[in-house]
Structure formats: C-alpha cells, structure tokens
Amino acid sequence: MSTTTKIDLATSAPAKPAKARPRRSLRASSTLNFWLFTGPFLIGLVIFVFVPMGWSIYLSFFEARFTVSPSTFIGFDNYQAILDNPDFTGSLVTFTVFAAFIVPTTWGLSLGLALLVHRLRFMKAFFRSVFFIPTAVSYVAAALIWKMSIFNGVRFGMANTVVGWFGVDNVAWLANPDPPWYWLVIVTLRLWLQAGFYMILFLAALQNIPAELYEAAAIDGAKPGWQTFWYITLPQLRATSTAVILLLLIAAYQAFDEFWNLLGKATWGQPPLVELYKTALGESQDYGQGSAGAVILTLLILVITLFQGKIMGFGRGEESK
C-alpha cells in the first residue's frame, strides 16, 4: 500500500525532487503547496468578488448610463440622486420595519418548533422532517403557491375560501396596498420557508444543554416550564440565538425573490434589491446610480450586523466568526 502511494506521488508531483524526502523539502515546498491549494480559489475571489466591488465603488462616482465604462466623473451626484429617489429611501425604511418584524417572529417560531420537537418521544424524526422540508422549496415556487393558490384574491383561493366560511367577503390580498394585507402574505411565506432551517440549529443547541443544569434547578426548587426555560434554556441558547438573528437580519435586507414574484410591478412593498435591479438593469440602465445604491445598502448591512454583534456580544466571536 505505502509503496504504491510513494510511486504515485513521485509521478504526480514532479516539481519536487522525489528523493529528498525529509522535512526540509516539505517545509520549502509548503509555500508552493499553499498556493497550489488556495490559488484557484483566491484568484477567483479576486476576479469575481474584489474586482466587481472595487469597480462598483469606482462606477458610483461616474456618469455611467447604458454603459459599464464610465464617462465623466460626477463625484457624489449618484449618491445624491439615489438618496433623493423616494422609492429607494422608502424601501430602506420599509425594510428596516420589515426586518424588525420578521426577525423576532422567525426567531420565536423556530425556537418554539424546536422546543416542541425536542420534547417529543416518538415520531420525533417525522415531525422534524415535516417542519424542515419547506427549506427544500425555492422562494419562487413558494411565491407561486402563495400567489396563485392561497392568496390569489379571488373566490377560489384558499385564504378567501377560509374567510368565506366566516362570512367575510373576498380580500384582495396582494392587489391592494390599503389595508396592507400583502405583508401577511410575505410574512407567512417567509416563516414557512425559513423556520425549519433555524429550528434545526436550535434543536442541535438544545441537545447540547447539559441535563445536570435542569436537575440542579429542580433540586433548587425551580418549576419546570417557564422558570427553567427563562433561567436555563434561553441563556444556554444565547450563542445560537445570536447567530440566528444575525443570519435572519442579513437575509431580510437581501430579500428579493418572493417580492419580485409576489408583487411584480406593484409600487408598494418593494425591497431595496428590487429598486437596485430597476435602477441598474431596468429601463434607465443607470449603472452608476445602481452601484451607488449597492454601496449604500452594503454599508447599511455592515453597520447593522456590527451593531447587532455589539449588543448581542460576540464575546468569543473572534474565533468563531
């Protein structure tokens, strides 16, 4: 076995003298090996991540309509223009409200489901799968189900059938911004798609809480239920909660798929990314302004995540993040 591998090695890595086997050659070649392993990734990262980012910052200071090669330097005019655009600033405000609502709800629902499933003795795997499986469905497919079958606003939609049982007239869920029922559509869709994924994270964390903590609490007279939940379970889940909230926040600001598909050309409830898409790739094809918007949104997300990291305390986050 070892002889064959030796031969293989000598043929597969001819750059290295096969005879000089001991440490020195290993150390000398470790720089080369480092680049052999990381080179493809790093080159791609530079080309497809760093270069576009740099280019985008550069473009944001130029007049660049219908072209990606900038013509005239215009300073902060693109920033001025996109911040004066009420659609864009409106979407930033809307989405801060959206995030403030969807993040705690998803956190609560996924934690609730995890607590339920964790306590089950039999059929645990079955229920875990049921809550988890919506993760397999794309936002597009889910938007299609929600828009065409549940909340389609006509008589044969499922939601209108259900409210019809209580004698309520048809509700135009998506087609009318007042009252804003479309938020119910969006929020239920997101909850359905996301909760199972975060439930898995919470389940893993729940399993890692040492049983002795609960035993000790029982001896000290803590009532199982609310007290142990508040004083043991919740603090023990702190690290997971922090991570979950961070992921949810980032996901909320990056919302695109379901809004694009549910609301289409509607003027209400549009997230920042849809506004960026319209600016940069829509009729105006204003790459300069679109880039300025992307920079603003990136900075906003950075500030929010850093701020959230500060309050929730990424205390030992240095190594884990």
């Binding site: 270069v51 988890f132 597009v140 991570a243 598909n261 790459y287």
Partner: protein
Amino acid sequence: MTTTAPDLRKTPGKKRGGKVIGNTGLYIATGVAALLFLVPFYLIVRNALMTDPEITGENWKWFPTDIQWGNFTEPFDDTTVDFGRALWNSWVVAILHTSGILLICSLAGYGLARIPYKHANKIFYAVLVTLMIPTAVTFVPSFVLVSSLGWVDTYRGLIIPGLFSGFTCFLFRQYFLGFPKELEEAARVDGLSYWGAYWRVVVPNSLNFFAAMATITFISGWNQFLWPLVIGQDPSAWTIQVALSSYMTNQTVNYHLIFAATAISILPLLFVFLFLQRWLVQGIAQTGIKG
C-alpha cells in the same frame, strides 16, 4: 446520528402521572403545526392533478374527481415557455455549481487550515471580509463584470461567478482545523506530499462533511433566482426558477400546468431531502453552530 439516543435519556421518565395530559397537548400542538406546514405541499399536489375548471370552480374541492396524470407532460409541450430547456439548464447549473464549489473551496479551506505559510492569516482575513458583504448586494457590479466578459446568457456566466464562496471556504477551513492531525502525519511519514495526503487520506475520511456541504450547495444552486434572472436575458438561458417566475406574469394562466411545473421543479430536492436528510441535518447543525 447519536441525536435521538442520548435525548431519550435526558427526558425525565419518572413522573408519569400528570404527564399524560401534557404529552397529549404536546402532540396536538405539534400535529396542528405540522398540518399547517404541509398545506402548501398539499396545494401543489391538488392543483397539479386537477383540471382548471375544478381548481377555479365555485366551491372548494379538496380532491380531484379524476386524477389528471397527463398534466405532468403539459409543461414540456407548452410553446410559450421552454420548460424542458429550463429544467435541463437547472440540472447543468446545479451540478456544476456544486462540484465546482466543493472542489475549489475545500482545497482552499484545507490550505488555509493546514499548510504553514507566513501570510496565511492575512489571506484568511481577506476571505472573512467577503463574508461581511452580502452576496446579493454585489449583483450589480458582478453583472457589470460578467457582461463585459461577454458571458451573459451562457453557462459560464451562470456558474463561474458563484464558485468562489467565502462562506463555504470558511466552513471547510473550520472543519479541517478539527480533522485529526495524526492521520495526515502518518501519511506524510509514508512519504505523501500535501497533495497526496489530501486526496488519499483527508478526503476519504471526510466524506460525511463533503456530503453535507454538497447537499446544502446543491439546494442553493437549484433554488437560486436573482443571479439567473440577471444573467438569463434570453429564454434559452433560463433556469427552472426563472421559468416558474415567468408563468406568474404570463397573460394566460393555466393553473394545472403551472402547478405541475412547480411539482416537477421541487421533486429533485424532495428526493435530496428524503434520502440525504441525515447529512443535511448534521451539516447544518455543525456549520450553524460554528458559523
């Protein structure tokens, strides 16, 4: 895998008396939640197997009178949207996306975790920086780059820009940091280079983690929408998600056709979930805790 066994021990089984009601309540609550979570799946199946008059009829019908299996071939015969092409594109993109990411990011993760190099830390920080920048936000600059390369409407444009995932690289690095060093050292004593040790010792002993990452990556590759929408300007380059999305804005709506198409689009992932859930759950639990 050891998930259920220690758990049974943890739940106190002593005081049975008042627990019966508590347990019934628990199962009722879980059952009701589970039913609600299954409603959308039920709707897909119901609508995919009905005729349009049944779906849009005056009164809500729970089940089709005659199961319309023929609905499943209709998307492929539809002339407005080339569904077969979109399905094929999705397979190509998802498979190449998954294998590419796994190859490139695992190698980089291993290099960063295990191969000594004086600037390795600085390079790792540069990778971490990209984690702070949400990928979806960079679609404008990425599109600018890809279009100037002439990659719009091509597989290259759909796949290559997404291969360099800082997050996947980071997860692989964390995993390899925890990989038992003794195994590699033994391989090195036997005369294997880093490259040889990686392919002959490290990878064969990490298949569980690779399977978990492959599952997660495949799902995200199959389900991604924004990037294919931006790149697929011509219908021939559409993926299945873009095709589904186009059904919603079409002038004429064939409910049974649309839902049959949706069912077809979800099917591969349901298989992934049913057969690979073990790795998936393990992968999410591992990576989630670390990330």
